[in-house]
């Protein structure tokens, strides 16, 4: 019975940790470079809308794709938008 209430198995914990660990190992992208990418993205998006650059996050993972060597990593960005009022600037062009 206690199996039903047990926390995540240590095997699953190991797999989850490895997934994240190996992505950063394989990409071999330094935190410094990630910071440059983040700043550049913030700069471009800021042209079109007001964003909260201090609270944006970017990370490289293989979410959705199957794990393993063949999987292509992708870049995920979470950018909090403060005001989308400037988007019509885009439409008028």
């Amino acid at each position: 019975m206690r199996h039903f209430f047990r926390r995540k198995s240590s095997c699953q914990v190991a797999k989850d940790r490895l997934k994240i660990l190996l992505i950063s190992d394989r990409v071999n992208c330094s935190p410094e470079v990630m910071e440059f990418i983040k700043n550049d993205i913030a700069k471009v998006i800021s042209k079109y809308m007001k964003i909260d650059a201090d609270n944006m996050e970017i990370q490289i993972n293989t979410k959705g794709a199957k794990s393993g060597r063949g999987a292509k990593p992708s870049l995920y960005a979470n950018i909090p938008i403060i005001d989308v009022g400037m988007t019509d600037l885009n439409l008028n062009r």
Binding site: S9, S10, C11, Q12, A14, K15, R17, L18, K19, L21, L22, D25, R26, S67, G68, R69, G70
Partner: protein, 273 residues
């Protein structure tokens, strides 16, 4: 699978046994695969490339017969043939020991390739026992090899290092890399406390060539200095199967689950009581 029957099959094959992390069973695997191939009538040369920390001689039980070593060969203190120790138990099995009193920089990748080219003329299989790490010792070991056996255990640290090694082997142009998962404990896998072989294969994404169950007979065999390949124990059988697959045969995987599950079910009753 089909490319294992390539035209090159007629020539000799140079296999490096590597892992990145130390203590996962590279030397044990080298000794057992080498001995297993020799038992099937192949001419096999085992080379210990771990300069400064040699171990293969001890696992093979040949430590008392060393006169010359790999560094002596490279430095021209002796001929290649003089450094080869013949294993009297298996015709066709030879060991080239490493030097204990030197370090990794005593040999260069170029020198390794030369020694291997020389040995290729007389042997069907040359098996290189790679040191742990990714420094010069690793570079020396992989320099002359055609294919690799990557050894890992179902642990986060060993798998991480194996992944790094696979990346480095790929960068060095290796086309054939096969995975050996060592020290698997089915009882732990079943209760969700150890990654299964399928989990490890999914993560590392290279072909599997062997699963070696955790078996106390490995320790006993090392104590005795006699590889256990082919013996009537789980690890002995598993290594014999690896040897078959190295030769390109299709060998079904042993079902440790069945045997152990019955046993643990029986012993489990007593543990609970």
């Amino acid at each position: 699978m089909e490319n294992q029957f390539s035209p090159e099959q007629k020539g000799s094959e140079v296999i490096v046994v590597t892992s990145g992390k130390g203590g996962v069973g590279k030397t044990t695997t080298s000794a057992n695969v080498g001995t297993g191939l020799a038992k099937l009538g192949k001419k096999v040369c085992l080379i210990d490339t771990d300069i400064g920390l040699r171990n293969l001689d001890v696992v093979m039980g040949l430590e008392n017969r060393i006169v010359y070593n790999l560094v002596d060969v490279v430095e021209g203190n002796c001929r290649v043939k003089q450094a080869l120790i013949r294993d009297k138990r298996h015709p066709g099995l030879y060991l080239m020991p490493s030097a204990q009193t030197r370090d990794k920089t005593a040999v260069t990748p170029g020198q390794m390739i030369k020694v291997i080219e020389h040995l290729k003329e007389q042997f069907d299989y040359i098996i290189l026992d790679c040191p742990a790490g990714i420094e010069q010792g690793f570079q020396n070991a992989i320099a002359g090899a055609d294919r690799a056996l990557v050894v890992t255990t179902p642990e986060v640290s060993a798998i991480r290092d194996a992944d790094r090694i696979i990346g480095l082997l790929e960068a060095n142009g290796f086309k054939q890399m096969d995975l050996i998962i060592n020290r698997l404990r089915m009882d732990m896998v079943r209760r969700g406390d150890m990654m299964s072989s399928q989990d490890v294969v999914d993560i590392l994404a290279i072909p599997l060539i062997g699963i070696i169950p955790d078996d106390e007979n490995v320790v006993i065999a090392t104590n005795q200095g006699e590889p256990l390949v082919g013996r009537d124990c789980p690890a002995g059988q598993a290594y014999a199967n690896v040897v078959g697959r190295v030769l390109g045969k299709e060998v079904p995987y042993l079902n440790f689950d069945k045997g152990i599950s019955f046993w643990t079910r029986v012993t489990g009753i007593f543990h609970k009581a």
